[in-house]
């Protein structure tokens, strides 16, 4: 299992080399991996049927409680199969869609990494690993949307997608941590199987809000849906895979996964139903009113994501069965339709459905496959989409809460989606032949095999719903519900209310479709007007706000004035230190004069006078001289108080310093007063404050000894171990020799710097 998840990453590493070997068959070659993964996951089905779920454990960071544990149950297996199955065809498709592209290898590297991350996401049992994979999918999605990185729009859209999903990711992390605190475990299976009433926990509301913010952004729920249509800037294989079949369903997956634990609270159900229904209607309406074929499909994906969210919110057995059927049906037809949209774009040179027409003669196979997929999208028999839609209506009619409202919304969406399906299937292929930028011909085999297989699968599932039901759907619905679920899927339920609603929505949808051309201008005007107040406008305003705040804080804090930086640093550091000192130790200002000799007094006075003179003098020579006096004063202090080595070093260094200063500084101009009196008094106040804190700190430190000094070790061992009698020297060259080596290194670096600057100047003059 570990290999199954990580194999995508491993293959990604060798893809560039593989591309060189296989050339134009790279897509087919790489597809072997997801195909074998599909087979592997399919081989787990009997196990799941028998045992319900499967746990595979690998220790990763046991100290932090983060393990690479994989939880395989009906739900995660459905997702894993969708990811690897659709991934197989996407890779084949991308091989011909992007044939000859300069960065084809790079594309496959990211695509495979994404696939592996997505598999990791749906199979992880540990919340932290799940989150890591979650973020990996966001990042790979960013790279794929911005794959055409020379296009400004693509880069902008990629960044928007990343900002929205990553912001959601942050709240999700907070939510998952809260969840782990509530459930007292980072393991999903433990949280799910514990019988704690999480919805009575104090953190419940916060956790639900945080988690939903993450899943709603990822799964493009209103009001965060705007990034998804923009993500269509990605190459079509990406839209088909990430932005319809898999990545956007990560949020759905997590909601379904956590439903048994969090679903008992009222907030969960009502939030999901409300936002899901709003997303469903918005998506359906926007899909119907768009003209770009990829936008139509993107908005209809939003509609599907909304529906799925809403169904989790309803939460009855029937609704969850509908959820899992709708999920599978949607992935099958939407992945296929996106691939066809790419084929149309590829062969005709336009994405605008108003500029296509009568293509069925030029592209008969494409037309046939599209019709099949569109039938499933519209929810017509005998496709699997029909079963899903019937179940959807049935479960909403049966919903314990807001049944009438939700049903109305779903019927409205269904009407619009029938129109959308017509747009996608009828508009490009039937009617009058419209001249397209490229003369159309049939798409290559590699681009058709995916949609064909997916659509035929939808047809088979529709005709024989017991196949997927028995294999997985029942146990998947059970995983979402938390207890085993009895499902019954059939194409024909007899004449009942859902069927009547289906027929009604079909007729109304067709009616709308025939007025589409006439409605289009009005819809366009409405959408343009609404865009000014929509969430995307809010996003742009927010981004502008960030830029303004950043510019402001840069002006204030990062203005390049060294003095101001220092002032802030000093004020903050000493302010905080002073506060801590006073609050923990109190104010203690003692001065004990009795223990000092009069000549020591003299030295102290000398130091103070030299320092103050250096600050106040207007003469450079005066300040340099006072530095010398100060240095010698310090050396005297060292010598008087038992530190002869220090005294000697200080004397040497001080002499060198004064010579250096005299040599170099005298080429610089005279002192002038550059600061205003206000600035000087402000600086003086800060400096005196800092000095005062230092004094208090020393006085406090003199009172307190927290630890036994380690010096005794050096004193005792200097002679026996290091054969040295000057303990300070022994410490420097023996016990702490490595530190001294580092010091020598620093000095040589400084010397190198000095040398290069002097040499640089010499060469400059040479050139002049």
């Amino acid at each position: 299992m570990l290999l199954a998840v990580l194999s995508g990453f491993l293959l990604a590493i060798v893809t560039p080399a593989l591309h060189r070997i296989t050339g134009r068959y790279i897509g087919w070659t790489l597809a072997i991996l997801p195909a074998s993964l599909t087979a592997y996951f399919a081989s787990l089905i009997p196990d799941i049927q028998a045992n319900g779920s499967l746990m595979l454990e690998y220790a990763w960071l046991p100290g932090l409680g983060i393990d690479l544990n994989f939880l395989v149950d009906g739900l995660s297996l459905v997702f894993a199969l969708l990811i690897s199955g659709i991934g197989t065809f996407i890779l084949i498709y991308a091989g011909s869609y992007l044939a000859g592209h300069n960065y084809l290898a790079r594309f496959f590297v990211i695509m495979l990494s994404f696939m592996a991350s997505m598999l990791g996401l749906v199979l992880s049992d540990n919340l932290i690993t799940l989150f890591v994979f979650w973020e990996l999918t966001s990042i790979t999605s960013y790279l794929l949307i911005g794959f055409n990185h020379e296009d400004v729009e693509a880069r902008k859209c990629a960044l928007q997608g990343l900002f929205v999903t990553a912001a959601g990711g942050l709240t999700l992390m907070a939510g998952l941590i809260l969840l782990a605190i509530m459930g007292d475990s980072y393991s999903l299976s433990e949280i799910l199987s514990s019988d704690m009433a999480l919805h009575e926990h104090a953190f419940y509301t916060a956790a639900v809000i945080c988690i939903l913010a993450g899943t709603f952004t990822k799964s493009a729920q209103v009001p965060f849906h705007f990034w998804l249509p923009n993500a269509m800037a990605a190459p079509t294989p990406v839209s088909a895979f990430l932005h319809s079949a898999t990545m956007v369903k990560a949020g759905i997956y997590l909601m379904a996964r956590l439903n048994p634990s969090l679903g008992e609270g009222e907030l969960w159900g009502s939030a999901l139903m409300l936002f899901g229904a709003a997303t469903m209607v918005t998506g359906a309406y926007r899909a119907f009113s768009s003209t770009g074929i990829k936008n139509v499909l993107a908005y209809s994906t939003i509609m599907a994501l909304g529906t799925l969210t809403m169904l989790i919110g309803v939460g009855t057995e029937l609704a969850l069965t509908a959820f899992i059927c709708f999920l599978v049906a949607h992935s099958l037809y939407k992945g296929g339709l996106f691939m066809i949209a790419g084929a149309l774009d590829h062969e005709t040179g336009t994405k605008d459905i108003t500029r296509m027409g009568g293509l069925r003669k030029a592209m008969p196979v494409t037309a046939a496959i599209t019709c099949l997929a569109a039938l499933s999208l519209a929810g017509l028999p005998p496709l699997f989409g029909f079963i899903a839609k019937e179940l959807l209506f049935e479960s909403l009619l049966d919903s314990p809460l807001w049944s009438a409202g939700l049903t109305t919304a779903a019927v409205a969406a269904a009407i619009l989606i029938v129109g959308v399906a017509g747009l996608v299937a009828i508009k490009p292929f039937f009617g009058q032949v419209v001249n397209t930028p490229k003369s159309p011909h049939e798409a290559p085999f590699g681009m058709l095999v995916g949609p064909a297989v997916l659509s035929v699968t939808a047809l088979v599932f529709g005709l024989a719903p017991f196949l997927p039901e028995g294999a997985l759907l029942q146990s998947a619905a059970g995983s979402v519900k938390g207890v085993p679920v009895e499902t019954y899927l059939a194409l024909w339920h007899g004449v009942n209310l859902p069927l009547i609603l289906s027929i009604g929505s079909l007729l109304l949808g067709l009616a709308l479709l025939f007025r589409w051309s006439r409605l289009q201008p009005a819809l366009y005007a409405i959408n343009t007007y609404a865009a000014r107040f929509g969430p995307e406008a809010g996003y742009f305003r927010f981004m502008e706000g960030i830029t303004i705040v950043a510019a402001w804080q840069t002006r204030v804090l990062q203005n390049g004035v060294l003095g101001l930086y220092l002032l802030l640093l000093v004020a903050v550091t000493f302010g905080l230190t002073g506060y801590t000192l006073l609050s923990h130790h109190g104010f203690n200002l003692t001065l004990n004069l009795g223990d000092s000799h009069f000549y020591e007094w003299g030295i102290a006075l000398l130091l103070v006078v030299a320092a103050i003179f250096a600050c106040t003098t207007h003469s450079r020579l005066g300040s340099v001289a006072s530095m010398g006096v100060l240095g010698f004063g310090v050396a005297l202090t060292f010598i008087l108080f038992s530190a002869p080595d220090l005294g000697i070093t200080q004397l040497l260094v001080e002499t060198l310093t004064v010579i250096l200063l005299v040599l170099v500084l005298f080429k610089l101009p005279e002192f002038t007063n550059l600061s205003s009196p206000f600035e000087r008094y402000r600086d003086l106040a800060v400096a005196v404050f800092a000095g005062g804190v230092m004094t208090l700190l020393i006085l406090a430190a003199l009172d307190i000894q927290y630890f036994e000094s380690i010096s005794s070790y050096y004193i005792e061992n200097s002679a026996p171990l290091a054969y040295g009698r000057n303990i300070v020297n022994v410490i420097l060259v023996d016990f702490r020799a490595l530190d001294t080596l580092g010091e020598i290194f620093v000095l040589s670096l400084a010397a190198l710097g000095v040398l290069s600057m002097i040499k640089l100047r010499a060469e400059d003059q040479h050139k002049l």
Partner: protein, 115 residues
């Protein structure tokens, strides 16, 4: 003596910070020297000051006779003195060079990276 030196160190720190906050680049260097001296004295003072007992071991003995001054802070300060000198030498040459290139000793005029 330590309490007296605490005030001296405080004054040195205040003087160092005041000088470092000035706009003239030469004063910044003076501030730097003051700061390193203040820091060295700080370590020296807080570790306790002992008169006339250098950390030396007499000939023939394995350990010092009687109490001696703490050798560890002295080793630290010795390192600090030398490093401070390295930094100072580098800083002095750097500002000399900067003055040549930028043509001013006013730090506020040196805030643009592209001059």
């Amino acid at each position: 003596m330590e309490s007296l030196m605490a005030y001296v160190v405080g004054i040195l720190f205040a003087a160092a910070i005041y000088m470092m906050l000035r706009r003239s680049i030469v004063k910044l260097v003076i501030g730097l020297i003051l700061l390193s001296n203040a820091a060295n004295l700080l370590i020296f003072v807080v570790s306790g000051m002992t008169r006339g007992a250098p950390p030396l071991i007499p000939e023939g003995a394995d350990a010092p006779l009687g109490a001696i001054a703490d050798p560890l802070p002295q080793a630290l300060i010795l390192t600090a003195i030398v490093i401070a000198f390295g930094v100072l030498a580098f800083a002095v040459v750097l500002i000399r060079r900067a003055y040549e290139v930028v043509g001013t000793d006013d730090l506020d005029q040196m805030k643009d990276t592209d001059t």
